[in-house]
């Protein structure tokens, strides 16, 4: 920005010398009647596009007019006790079309979202432009204007700036150079906007008809991911807004804890904040809102607890519950076409785990080629390795030794040992000894009476040859997880020493053979003793499809394994939200005091989830939700939104179930996150750590 005309600087200096005893950077307080004078400092730019250049031009124009600080405002001398007007201008929240927003402001600096189905148009664009002066900088630097644009990037506020509380900095420097501070309403607004922007970003992926996003990384190769998994989308965004980070964080935790509902939790938190913002605008203190939200969340959870279905005793029914849950989870994903097939696979796999939540025992192998329908669950274990040349390709009744030992040159581990010889013959001798040592080792291994040897580390040619001679199948370089899994499936222990063959537990399996999937050869262990581990082979047209399929399947597996432990289930399709909303509404009516507004708002936020599901499916959400609400007025109603037929239907009949644990986690973490963001009244941003120039 060009330095302002000198006469302006002089005039300012003059004023400051005369008036301000302490170095103060001050803006005239922004109250309605003073908006004229304020307009010179805070300039209200009216423009169609969020174009930076026009913006700057306009501000330059303004500064040309010269400053019209009115001293009688008192702002110069006593800026500290200025309390901002509590209300924000309407509409306080800019609702952005996501595409538009991202192209402009790039919350995700790494990722651009290419296509978006619901583009909100004609939404007001809002700009913040915020200047302040510093007297010291007037004296020393050539450009006294320091210009700050609110750290929401280009998200700026155009509307009625004069009524915005713009706080003055009383001291020139409390913070370091680039550190900044946002206070009160501005801080709250910044965090609301950030959080809601993130929620809106993933909103369109919610529900069975949710759309996918393309994520392109800025890293080398510009690798592309197509997904509608909320956690994956949010993880790959580079977000600057601290409140938005809170949401990303809860989504991540949801992923770790229950595996599914990563989108719902963000959307619910976003809706809670949107409602909270309205309440704040109508002068309800955030603490009151929090108190109300807490009561509402408690009540909602109780409502769910009352309606849970638990089929733990009835094994058959429980299995069908699991099937339905898996199908519900999968139907929003890429696998929805073959959801029955995959649901069956997932349920089978989880049942094999026998109640443990260790999903590592389930191996997912992705092989491009074929169609998704060709994917299958394998009872046994598949290792993505080739069998060594000259070794048997098929072993029946295999005895397997799983090992983690060096089969290259066996190093002497004693510190400081080295070989120093003085003649060629000795070299040969030592080499011979070394070979002998390896031979010994191989013999010891063979002494276990095995016919298959799997090692985590490399096997060199020499021992491999020895193994081949003995007719033993030797597999090298299985990764660590592979080894652990193999130990699990075959029931063998992972050995590193081989001196006591009788006491080492060997693994067993009926058949080892080489199989072909697509073009790749894999080793297949079938008829294993301990049936815990299993492999799922995913087939599909491309890597992107496979990746997404893996994520979807992972979600389903997570949910199922959690449900096996906590067998309570609920109906899906917006049913739980409506049940909760109804109870919460009733609580709101019973509660006295301002809290009841917050409780009511909570119920509205809950209803937003079925609304979004319907919206994403291109249905008339208002109509459907109203219908749903009416249905839910009767006791014991099972109505939810049936996206397929586009009407309200009985969820129990449609077989749409969800796990109680997931819903509970969504409810509680969303409330917690909303609470955290609501409690904030100030954002202090430290100066970003400087990268050292690597020149």
């Amino acid at each position: 920005m060009a330095p302002p005309p000198t006469d302006l600087v002089d005039q300012l200096r003059h004023e400051i010398d005369e008036e301000a005893p302490l170095p103060a950077i001050v803006l005239p307080p922004a109250s309605g009647s003073l908006s004229n004078s304020a307009a010179s400092v805070v300039n209200t730019v009216e423009e169609e596009e969020g174009d930076n250049e026009t913006d700057e031009e306009a501000s330059d124009d303004d500064s040309d007019k010269g400053p019209t600080f009115i001293r009688s405002l008192g702002a110069w001398s006593k800026p500290l006790h200025f309390t901002p007007p509590p209300t924000l201008p309407e509409p306080a929240t800019p609702r952005f079309g996501v595409t538009e927003m991202l192209q402009k402001k790039r919350i995700g600096s790494e990722i651009e979202i290419k296509n978006h189905p619901t583009e909100t148009q004609g939404s007001p664009k809002i700009y913040f432009v915020h200047f302040y002066y510093s007297t010291t900088s007037l004296d020393t630097s050539s450009s006294p204007f320091q210009r700050r644009i609110s750290d929401l990037g280009d998200l700026r506020h155009r509307a009625a700036l004069s009524r915005l509380p713009i706080l003055s900095m009383p001291i020139d420097k409390i913070f370091k150079d680039d550190a900044s501070e946002e206070k009160g309403e501005r801080a709250r607004m910044a965090s609301f906007i950030g959080a809601m922007a993130v929620a809106d970003l993933v909103k369109s992926t919610l529900g069975p008809k949710g759309m996918d996003k393309i994520l392109q990384s800025t890293g080398r190769g510009h690798s592309v991911t197509v997904t509608n998994d909320g956690a994956t989308i949010l993880k790959s965004l580079h977000i600057d807004n601290p409140a938005a980070k809170v949401l990303v964080d809860i989504s991540k935790v949801q992923d770790d804890e229950v595996g599914d509902g990563t989108t719902s939790v963000v959307v619910l938190a976003g809706e809670l904040l949107r409602e909270a913002e309205k309440l704040v605008t109508s002068k309800i203190h955030p603490m009151t809102i929090i108190a109300g939200y807490r009561m509402a969340a408690e009540c909602a959870r109780d409502a769910l607890l009352k309606r849970v279905i638990d089929n733990k005793e009835n094994a058959e029914k429980f299995r069908s519950d699991l099937m339905k849950i898996a199908m519900t989870t999968l139907c929003s994903k890429i696998l929805s076409q073959d959801k029955e097939h995959f649901a069956e696979m997932a349920v089978d796999a989880v049942f094999r785990l026998k109640g443990s939540t260790n999903l590592e025992a389930i191996q997912i192998i992705k092989k491009p080629g074929g169609s998704l329908r060709d994917s299958f669950l394998d009872e046994g274990f598949i290792l993505d390795k080739k069998i060594g040349i000259g070794q048997p390709k098929r072993i029946e009744n295999a005895k397997i030794l799983v090992a983690n030992t060096a089969m290259d040159t066996d190093k002497v581990k004693i510190y400081g040992a080295r070989v120093r010889v003085d003649s060629m013959t000795k070299v040969a001798q030592i080499e011979g000894a070394e070979k002998e040592k390896m031979k010994d080792k191989v013999n010891k291994i063979l002494a276990h009476g095995i016919n298959c040897f799997v090692n985590r580390q490399l096997i060199y040619n020499f021992p491999e040859e020895l193994f081949a001679d003995a007719g033993v199948l030797a597999i090298e370089h299985a990764d660590f997880e592979g080894i652990e899994r193999l130990g699990l499936v075959t029931g063998g222990e992972i050995a590193s020493t081989f001196d006591n063959p009788e006491s080492v537990k060997l693994g067993h399996c009926k058949l080892i053979e080489e199989i072909m999937i697509g073009e790749d050869k894999l080793i297949h262990f079938s008829g294993v003793e301990m049936g815990q581990a299993c492999s799922i082979v995913l087939r599909g047209a491309s890597h992107h499809v496979l990746d997404e399929a893996e994520r979807s399947l992972h979600d389903a597996l997570c949910v199922l394994s959690q449900t096996v432990n906590d067998s309570r289930v609920l109906l899906g399709g917006g049913w739980p939200e409506m049940v909760m909303a109804k109870e919460v509404d009733e609580l709101a009516r019973k509660t006295a005091g301002k809290k009841s507004h917050a409780i009511e708002a909570f119920s509205r936020a809950l209803v937003a989830i079925p609304t979004t599901i319907a919206d994403n499916a291109g249905l008339d959400s208002a109509e459907l939700v109203a219908q749903l609400r009416a249905e839910h007025h009767t006791e014991g109603c099972n109505a939810g939104i049936d996206v397929i037929s586009g009407a309200v239907g009985d969820m129990e009949e449609r077989g749409i179930y969800e796990a109680f644990k997931v819903k509970q986690a969504v409810l509680l973490s969303a409330t917690e996150a909303a609470e955290m963001i609501l409690r904030v009244d100030e954002i202090i941003t430290c100066a970003p750590r400087r990268r050292e120039d690597r020149m």
């Binding site: 001291i171 809170v246 939540t357 040992a417």
Partner: protein, 535 residues
């Protein structure tokens, strides 16, 4: 600027490169400093009390912290101003000394500075103000002593302690389950407290957090929690009546510190060396086994071979355990940390009733519980919560609660919270002011007014009319001569803090007043600020 003339009238420069420096002196310096101090206090002011708001802090690497703990806010703020740094120090020293009231002390200092500014405007010399403050603080501290109450509790009746901890926790985000957290904190402190000597070693309480679950799942473990798992995936996950060998030597061939070389020049040597190496591992494991250990906890890593041997001999082991945790385990299990295998004896083993591995969530997260230890002095508070920020904040809150409980064990006196103590002091100081002749009288009155600002901020944050509420409470205290009336922040309907069970420790309050006064005095005495003006 600092410019002097010698006897010939030639100017010479006193300050080096003085044109690059800015200088403020006299009343300007004081005012600038006061303004800086006030600015810091202003940031914290809205965090005070049970309805105080949080601050969101974005660190230099983009990491976000949400907290309302004064010390943490100030610590993480990128403060550049020297006076502001003093305020940060102030809050930190309160944190070190007392652990609680870190926000209050800064707000108090800010109020004192504000009052000082007014006195300066009246033309009172800063030193006189400082002296007046000093006198007033003495009056206030004495008065606190007078209105404080002894507070009876013992190991079996710890309810009063819980009440006090709840006061501390109620201002934090965790106030949803303050009751259970307060109980956990009190039980933890009582478990490690030495009631005879009235001493509590907070190092024995380990606060460990793990993302996931609910805040309600937070638990107190009478034992140690180690964020590690067994070294071999097939080792048993649960050991009863464990005899623990705590080692600081690796399961590896020895590495002498002196530089040496083992030269191999014949086949025989090669063979013997090989044998020896195998023997090493065998011996190590055998030694552990011989002394009767059923669990090995080691500070270092294991060689693959050693690992397998351990597994093979049915000796579960944990590797890469940090030094601090190792010490805690040693304390808890009554074992000794053994630096050499040779020194391993049965007496040096630690004993624990139960050691088990527990997994969390869908990801591969396992932790090791060591419970029912021989010496139950070391405890762990294990925090669960929705996200990392929540856990960090809970950790800080628990720390505050622990400090409060400790202070109460050290000194049983309490004063009533909710601004009651400040109001009582303010009245006492105001009354005392008239007795002092001289200019200090005004400073003392200013001090009384500054004391009012804490209840005022409390009322303001709770959405009450600050001046109205304060004056009502003040007159009530004066009329009935009872120092228990405070600000009703939670809208309970009574001003009597005894009924609301809002206590604070006497030493905490005293320290607050003394520290705030000290810093303010220091700031008032500065009359010349010379700084490099790079900007």
């Amino acid at each position: 600027m600092a410019l002097a003339f010698d006897e010939f009238g030639r100017p010479f420069i006193i300050l080096r490169e003085q044109d690059q420096k800015t200088r403020l002196r006299g009343i300007d310096a004081q005012k600038a400093n006061i303004a800086a101090g006030k600015a810091v206090a202003r940031i914290l002011r809205s965090s005070l009390g049970p309805k105080g708001m949080d601050k969101m802090l974005q660190g230099p690497d983009g990491d976000v912290t949400i907290t309302n703990d004064g010390a943490t806010i100030l610590e993480q703020m990128d403060v550049d101003n020297q006076i502001a740094k003093l305020m940060v120090e102030l809050s930190r020293s309160q944190d070190y000394e007392i652990g609680d009231g870190t926000t209050g002390v800064v707000v108090m200092a800010g109020a004192l500075l504000e009052q000082a500014e007014r006195q300066l405007d009246r033309g009172i010399h800063p030193i006189r103000i400082a002296e007046g403050y000093e006198m007033a603080s003495r009056v206030a501290v004495e008065h606190l002593e007078r209105i404080s109450q002894k507070f009876e509790f013992d190991v079996n009746n710890y309810e009063p302690l819980v009440q006090t901890c709840m006061t501390t926790l109620s201002s934090k985000i965790v106030n949803r389950c303050k009751r259970s957290l307060a109980e956990i904190a009190v039980k933890a402190v009582l478990a490690v407290a030495d009631l005879e000597r009235r001493d509590v070693n907070l190092d024995l309480i380990k606060v460990e957090g793990k993302v996931g679950g609910n805040l309600e799942d937070t638990e107190l473990i009478y034992g140690i929690l180690v964020d590690k798992d067994m070294s071999h995936p097939q080792m048993p996950k649960q050991i009863e009546d464990a005899h623990i060998a705590i080692l600081t030597c690796p399961f590896e061939p020895p590495k002498p510190k002196t530089k040496h070389k083992v030269d191999i020049d014949t086949v025989e040597k090669f063979e013997t060396l090989r044998k020896q190496e195998q023997q090493y591992f065998d011996e190590m494991v055998q030694k552990c086994k011989d002394v009767g250990a059923t669990l090995v906890i080691c500070q270092w890593g294991f060689d693959d071979e050693a690992n397998h041997l351990l597994m093979h001999r049915n000796l579960p082991a944990v590797r890469w355990v940090g030094g601090v945790e190792l010490e805690l385990i040693a304390i808890a299990t009554g074992g000794r940390i053994v630096p050499r295998f040779q020194e391993l004896t049965p007496e040096k083993l630690g004993k624990a009733g139960m050691v088990r591995e527990k997994s969390f969530g869908t990801t591969k997260e396992r932790m090791l519980y060591i419970e029912h230890c021989a010496n139950s002095k070391a405890v762990t508070i294990f925090i669960r919560g929705g996200n990392k920020m929540m856990i960090e904040e809970t950790k800080r809150s628990i720390h505050d609660a622990l400090c409060v409980a400790r202070n109460l064990i050290r000194n049983k006196s309490i004063v009533y919270g909710g601004g009651a103590a400040e109001i009582a002091c303010s009245l006492a100081v105001d009354a005392a002011a008239d007795k002092y002749p001289g200019v200090e009288q005004y400073a003392i009155r200013a001090f009384a007014e500054a004391l009012d600002s804490v209840p005022m901020a409390l009322a303001e944050n709770s959405g009450l009319q600050p001046i109205e509420t304060l004056s009502a409470v003040k007159s009530q205290q004066l009329k009935e001569n009872i120092p228990f009336y405070g600000i009703d922040c939670n809208d309970v309907g009574t001003n009597d803090m005894r009924e609301q069970n809002v206590f604070e420790t006497l030493i905490g309050k005293q320290q607050q007043i003394l520290l705030a006064t000290q810093v303010v005095k220091m700031i008032l005495k500065i009359d010349d600020v010379i700084s490099n003006s790079e900007y």
